[in-house]
């Protein structure tokens, strides 16, 4: 058992932290306000290798492990939650499934594009009528000669408006339910594929969250990922990995809320002394710090399970995502409380952090779904 980061993890943390503080954090308030997608910074991150953290070098990635992925996503999210999820999606929801399930041609064709940021990745699973209930999905893909014909609508898709490569889930055989689901790699400029409504989100506002609309979209057969019917399995496997990311994002957002709170509570004086001297505030700070550290350990542990090569670690991933996102919202709430009325104004970053945190409990499987996953594993 060793809790120390390895040399490369320490260096990665050091450099990503510095980059995040001086490059990402300064634009975070602006892109929250404008909703503008941070392309400049995405390009810079591509140069550093942050768009392909876990992708092997031979495909243009950095070849790091999953704990390193968590460390990087935490640092990025601490500075800018929007950027954190953009990078997480590119790494885990687009890069990972292609790396894990793609054939050699697909890996060679798409992974370098994702790693270099030439095309960003997005993950098309959720639909207007199918969120937690994945099986309620209505999108279909029908084989027609050398092509699949794709029809349907996807909603709440991060990166959608700016991505070039979409992992799209559709029924190739609806009667088989889960086992009739397949995964397709869809390129942005495919005829019949258009973007729908751009979501005006409460938080993570710079993530180009859009609807995907497929109207008789012809997808070449070679863009089927894995085999027909393997979509659901791939999806669940991918979500396990992405929950490491979302847990890490939660830890990063919570850490920024704590950092702001510590700073504020030392500066702000009431009754003649800094408010950090008051036990009510101390109690909140102590809880926040402890919860963050516990969440970080759960996230690292889920990463460790993946590093070991465990094929299923759904319980560990769900625990990390569930706990980290819950405490993140709670830590952000306490942070607003510590800031008092000022925390409710746009003069302080804490209201943005609070809004950003809330999404964590909703996406990548709501926390209710996470608890179901955990409980099912316990009672299996």
């Amino acid at each position: 058992m060793n809790f120390d980061l390895t040399n490369d993890q320490k260096m990665l943390q050091d450099q990503v932290k510095k980059f995040a503080d001086s490059v990402l954090a300064p634009v975070a308030p602006d892109i929250d306000k404008s909703g503008e997608f941070p392309w400049d910074n995405i390009k810079k991150m591509a140069e550093l290798g942050l768009l392909g953290i876990i992708i092997p070098e031979e495909y243009g990635g950095a070849g790091f492990d999953y704990i390193s992925l968590a460390i990087a996503i935490e640092e990025i999210s601490r500075a800018c939650a929007s950027t954190g999820v953009i990078v997480a999606v590119n790494n885990s929801l687009a890069g990972y499934p292609i790396m894990q399930f793609g054939n050699e041609e697909q890996k060679k064709k798409y992974l370098p594009l994702l790693c270099k940021g030439e095309k960003l990745g997005a993950f098309g699973l959720t639909e207007p009528n199918a969120g937690s209930d994945v099986a309620a999905m209505e999108t279909t893909a029908r084989l027609d000669g050398d092509h699949y014909i794709l029809n349907g609508t996807k909603r709440f898709i991060t990166n959608a408006g700016e991505a070039g490569i979409y992992m799209v889930f559709a029924y190739t055989n609806k009667e088989l339910k889960h086992k009739g689901m397949s995964t397709f790699i869809v390129e942005r400029d495919t005829p019949g594929f258009s973007l729908g409504k751009h979501e005006d989100l409460m938080g993570i506002r710079a993530t180009a969250n859009c609807e995907l609309i497929f109207e008789d979209v012809k997808i070449p057969r070679e863009n089927l990922l894995g085999k027909e019917g393997e979509g659901f399995k791939m999806c669940m496997n991918t979500l396990d990995v992405s929950r490491i990311d979302i847990g890490a994002q939660a830890v990063g957002i919570a850490q920024s809320a704590l950092d702001e709170s510590i700073k504020y509570s030392k500066e702000r004086k009431t009754f003649g002394q800094p408010i950090c001297n008051f036990q009510m505030v101390q109690s909140m700070l102590a809880e926040m710090a402890t919860e963050i550290q516990a969440a970080r350990m759960l996230v690292y542990y889920a990463g460790h399970c993946k590093n070991k090569g465990m094929t299923r670690f759904s319980k560990e991933a769900a625990m990390a995502k569930y706990y980290a996102s819950s405490i993140s919202v709670d830590v952000a709430r306490k942070a607003v409380q510590i800031h008092g009325g000022y925390g409710y104004t746009k003069d302080y970053p804490i209201e943005r952090i609070y809004r950003d945190a809330k999404i964590l409990e909703l996406y990548e499987g709501t926390n209710e779904i996470q608890k179901i996953i955990i409980a099912r594993e316990l009672t299996r």
Binding site: N7, D8, Q15, L48, A62, G63
Partner: protein, 257 residues
Amino acid sequence: MDIIVCIKRVAQTAEADVKIDSSGKDIVKDRLTFDMNESDTYALEEAILLKEKFGGTLTAVSLGTVQAEDTLRIALAKGADSAIRIKAEDFEGLDGYKTAQLLKAAIKDLKFDVVFTGCIATDDYYSQVGVTLAELLGVPHATLVTKIDIQDTKAQVHRELEGGLIEHLDMTLPALFTIQTGINEPRYASLIAIRRAAKKEIKVIGASEIEPTGIQANASLEELFTPPAGKRAEILSGSMDEISAKVAGIIKEKGLI
């Protein structure tokens, strides 16, 4: 072109509370963060840029405790080929002069065309080590360098003087330059470079490799103390509204608006 860059890991004190420890001769360090000295990051970047332009080798050297290896490893990840740590724990009473002598001992057998250091360390504020090292190595130097243009063995060098004035020098290599902040834009190490650097060996040398005869310090620390408060500003208090009204009043009183 063979290049050496000397870097130091220092406590980051610009925005931190600095307290004297119980010995009275050192500061309380456990709450401080440590990192590469600011001007050293620019010196390192300048060295990497030079290596990228001309090829050759880049060696990073640091006198420090084992934690300095983390700083050296960052230098490796950014572009240094090899790194040497001189064990600070083997030597006592390190001042600028002694540091320069130890650095000299560590690099005297290396081939070099250029040696870079930062122009000042933010902990001890000496601005001594680079120039002393140049003297000990028997090479010319220039301090506070804000631009270097090298062709063959000639270097056109800009030094930053007071008042924004620049001094233009024509120098011959080998030479040592102490680098001023702002000369370039220090890079971040890429992830791939980090992974490669993590595996590299750092050469560690100490008392058994460096003959201590004749290496002495110039100065020894007697005591540390908090600077006496000079003239103090009148601190304006009250609500932000009251404070602002006071300031507006002062400005008005002086007839500035």
